[in-house]
Symmetry: C2
Subunit: 247 residues, 2 copies
Amino acid sequence: MTDRASCLVSKLGHYISLSEDDRQRLSTLEKSERSYGAGTDIYQMDDPCTDLFVVKQGWLFSYNDLPDGSRQIVKLHLPGDIIGFPDVSQKHVTSTLCAAEDVVLCPFPKTALDVILRDSPRLSALILSIALRDQIILLDLLRALGSMTARARISYMLLDLLARLKITNKGMSDVLRLPLNQSQIAAYVGLTNVYVSKTLSRMEKDGDIARTGNTVHLLRPEAMEEATDFRDRYSDMDIGWFPANKV
Amino acid sequence: MTDRASCLVSKLGHYISLSEDDRQRLSTLEKSERSYGAGTDIYQMDDPCTDLFVVKQGWLFSYNDLPDGSRQIVKLHLPGDIIGFPDVSQKHVTSTLCAAEDVVLCPFPKTALDVILRDSPRLSALILSIALRDQIILLDLLRALGSMTARARISYMLLDLLARLKITNKGMSDVLRLPLNQSQIAAYVGLTNVYVSKTLSRMEKDGDIARTGNTVHLLRPEAMEEATDFRDRYSDMDIGWFPANKV
DNA sequence: CGCGTTCGTTAAACTGTGTTAATCCACGTC
DNA sequence: GACGTGGATTAACACAGTTTAACGAACGCG
């Protein structure tokens, strides 16, 4: 195995051990990687859905513009994430993808799933599991947006991001680089930029967080977890039921 | 084929034509059906996750109690729906399931998925697609809760329910039986029962809806769709890429 | 160096929604 | 027929979060 393994292999290999066959299958699926500058819209809502992307570098987000002119960010994409999964079920993509900073993506065609489903039950189970886990996480976010205060929503967002970064980066401390401006944070948690500023300042004054530049330090993560009833869904996946591949 | 087909067969058969093999496979998975009275909690948050359920009759919802004492309903389950899918990825269920009225469910074990993934790529693709489509719908709901007014949220909910009922009931008119009280509606759309009442009254006065008992009549669905940017995700699934089963 | 741009902060006025609580109605029961 | 119960409605008041606007800091650029 060379070091420059495919994005997909290294992403999925985090969850289960992959057979050599599976590695082969995955790496042939991948097209050559692509870079985009900060702020570019990579695809637009209602474009035909052909490719998926693995994030190799940088943060992105998916958003929608609403009839009243406001914007809702529905998903943040971090390095290692697969982008566009839910849209596979639709003929057209349902949101616009935007690079929050300079990014590198590894695209692979939607039809790749066809091959995987046909040939590898074990990979299929993993992919299904990831899709389902993402759904759980959306449900968590729904709870947050549906009935939590501004402060709790922001806390929730920070805790979630930290948990996600810790998947691939075990020994990580509670410090977080946040390459999003406050308007983007607002669009994600359903507030205004003004109130995000006020809330972050208050959290800082109260000693919940510390800020320097665009990095945030969570000073009492346990207290925040309790206040928001946060659960880490990333570290707790059930992969026991996965089938072995046929011989 | 007898008329009393299994719940699963009739549910999944709505989307694609099933081979005789697939029908066999599905019907053996199913346990005997079970009934529950209105208001019963069928399973509780944090219970171990062993079974999935197909709804044969009646409405249900999944909810969570939040630290501040409020309650958030995260999903409404209508006849034909599969309940508990996202939880398959977790060791424990992430919400409590409650019967909104008298219901009949068809349980089948979580391990059934194992068999399907191993033996039927085509069914696997369908199941994956349904999971992904549900995720899209959650994203839609997220947009609604994140940045829409009370009125738009309720409109959104009504439109969504109508679209879902129309899947299995093609020629349906814009009339809807709503077996939920206003507190439950509130818990779903992130409002209070009082404000739901006020908003529904206002919508009725303005001629958007008409109410008699617990049925709601949507008087200008197109206007409501426009105001909320509603999209029907149910009628627009992409199943073209599904693999055929191996020979 | 001066200029424009973007972003974060702060303040004041405003508003949609929450809170609380009283009233009413429909319905079932003894 | 009296009573209890659950749900819907209404009104008065409180408040979390929005809107608008102004200002300052940091940065890139000609």
